[in-house]
Symmetry: C2
Subunit: 400 residues, 2 copies
């Protein structure tokens, strides 16, 4: 049979992570601290049904929902993004500079489609989001990690690596980062935009967790400091509305939007209509404010329980982040414990049966630190967080 | 600002066609014979609302609809495809060898993602579907046209061009082809599969119109003659269920499916859940049979009116296809009339105000024939077909 294209050969590495993630969704006995999905309790099922009942009629938006629509996406959803989600965060734009994508991930893949040639260097946080790396691999880019501390990407290391590698793009998840839960400080956000202008490097700001902030002070997106058009903002409705709807968006200047329309048309022509309409109406009818409070309360409680339990049950000397939002924390275990090796035991032992994501997978180059793990609390009810961390903690302690 | 990737530079040509297509959707005075969309009357708005009311509940499929789901797509929809759409057409497969895509167009772009390297040759029908060519251009392929007659692609010319160009892939729309409405004969379907095996060339069989057959005898897909796995079948629910849902599917062997999962994950991770569930339930609850009869009756009437009017109003010597299904016919005008040049006049003249797609755009290489046009009748009510063809015909006659 015919050979696959070159790009597919570079992609073997990360796909298994995905399979494991989704396989874990199926086993009812396992408690998964691995899934990055939103909580089922955070999905507005009844509201979406109510909206749909109203819009899916011949005299309302029924034909629009089932007919071909604009490549850019449904206009009132793009207006909602500009007015309700971006303007309050200091990003001045309008519906003509926002494209609706198939989830936040398509914002990443379309940006690559537009800009990435084989061999281009992309600077990423170390560690970073596995699926983004997989996309970069499909476009045959070379990912180079930038060091992080508690304030996110270290901008001195970023500048050094810009000089050393002449990257095409910097990829960052500035707020409640996946996998670490860390947030890039305001000063560094400004600096990233400055470096982008100074060295003419693109920034892809991927910010799907920013609107799930349940403590601390809000920060401005990197895009709000953009003076050149080099900063492209991608985001998703998966965490604040519905993950299954697969809607996200991408914000850029005229030049980017013109090319995006070509790439989107050639990829899948447009995003599904009904999910876009449902989401637009969710915001326009004023459901978001109340729902947002509900999900922030839900995740804050889970974060608090997770922090308490990690401190209580995990081995002494464990370090972990204390995120002000989002769905994850990142733990570093003491005593040379290897989270990759221990995962199989954690999942299969009858007195544990807990999954997590071993940290090693999130490093793209250089040193792959083996004592780290991503721990999700967003989709796990508090009582299960207690059980899972106690069991995992006991197992880890027994290995020291 | 940063430069675009090489692949975007090759794409300038066809994008304007798309813009014009969608712009035409907006003008209420214009009668569009250009749009390839299904008829509004063929969209099952009330049925989909009824289904949604039932499935979008916490105790039914509500969480599934709004949560992340499988990369391959919703399982019962894949079973519907295998059992209700493919088995009756002689294609033996199962849910594990079908991936749900974002419309039929994503089946094309994912196939390219898997197989097409820059510079690869793709053989296409001459003329062929503009959007597919745009996708092939994004993957930096070179498109070479294969001659057609009333039985579709000429297989002798196909074999000659396989020998001459060593293509990676043959792209064909075998049934009620876009733009011509022509159908590849059964004998030729078998021959295309044989050539694919003999020369180890992929075939992408794109078959979105096949299920809208309203006269003549059903034919087996090329995929049903596939002995090597070289034939990949893409299809869409846009014409038989809903275009706005953006759901299609792709059928391939184990090796293709494994790679597809990687490419899909890296592109947008999965197709929207609710449209998939709505479509699966539409078939499982038995709505399809009645709906299918309704849309076939609708399109047959429009086809009949269009054939009658073309014979009556278009200049003597006009040739046009008489499709047994689908949404288009293809006309060749006599006397050196240039459809590209006449389009502007047809759209803007107050006593005409009719749009169509000039045929020249559908040719990818070599001779671009200028006296042809794609005429859509699917989305146009019969009275408007009469008015539009009479006006257009009068204008064309006046130029001779």
């Amino acid at each position: 049979m015919s050979e696959f294209a070159h790009r597919m050969e570079t992609m073997a590495g990360t796909a298994e992570v995905v399979k494991n993630l989704f396989a874990a969704l199926g086993d009812p006995e396992l408690i998964s601290l691995g899934i990055g999905a939103p909580a089922s309790e955070a999905l507005p099922v009844d509201i979406v049904r109510e909206i749909t009942n109203d819009v899916l009629r011949l005299d309302t938006r029924g034909i629009e929902a089932l007919q071909y629509g604009p490549v850019m996406g449904v206009k009132d959803l793009r207006e909602v993004v500009a007015e309700q989600l971006l303007a309050p965060k200091g990003v001045k734009t309008d519906a003509d500079h926002i494209m609706i994508t198939v989830g936040g991930l398509e914002a990443i893949s379309l940006t690559c489609q537009l800009f990435i040639n084989p061999g281009d260097v992309i600077l990423v946080e170390s560690p970073t989001f596995v699926h983004a790396v997989e996309t970069f691999e499909m476009f045959e880019a070379r990912c180079i990690g930038v060091r992080m501390d508690d304030d996110g990407m270290e901008v001195e290391d970023l500048e050094n690596k810009i000089r050393q590698y002449h990257p095409k793009m910097i990829y960052t998840i500035p707020t409640f980062q996946n996998p670490t839960g860390r947030t890039l400080s305001q000063a560094r956000r400004k600096r990233v935009a400055e470096l982008s202008a100074m060295y003419d490097v693109l920034v892809l700001e991927d910010d799907p967790y920013r609107d799930i902030r349940y403590s601390g002070e809000d920060l401005l997106p990197i895009k709000s400091f953009d003076t050149t058009g080099n900063v492209i903002l991608g985001n998703s409705f998966s965490k604040i509305f519905s993950a299954g709807s697969r809607i996200g968006y991408i914000v850029g200047n005229d030049r980017v939007m013109e090319m995006l329309q070509r790439a989107k048309t050639a990829s899948n022509s447009q995003t599904s209509m009904l999910p876009q309409i449902q989401c637009a109406e969710f915001f326009k009818r004023g459901y978001y404010e109340k729902h947002h409070k509900l999900i922030c309360d839900l995740y804050r409680e889970r974060r608090d329980v997770m922090m308490e339990c990690l401190d209580k049950y995990f081995p002494e000397g464990t370090k972990h982040t204390r995120p002000d939002g989002g769905l994850f924390t990142w733990a570093e275990l003491p005593g040379g414990l290897n989270t990759t090796e221990l995962l199989k035991e954690a999942v299969s032992r009858k007195d544990v049966k807990v999954s997590y994501i071993a940290g090693e997978k999130f490093f793209t180059d250089g040193e792959r630190i083996t004592n780290c793990m991503r721990i999700s609390f967003g989709a796990v009810p508090p009582d299960k967080i207690r059980i899972a961390t106690e069991r995992l903690g006991r197992m880890f302690c027994s290995k020291l």
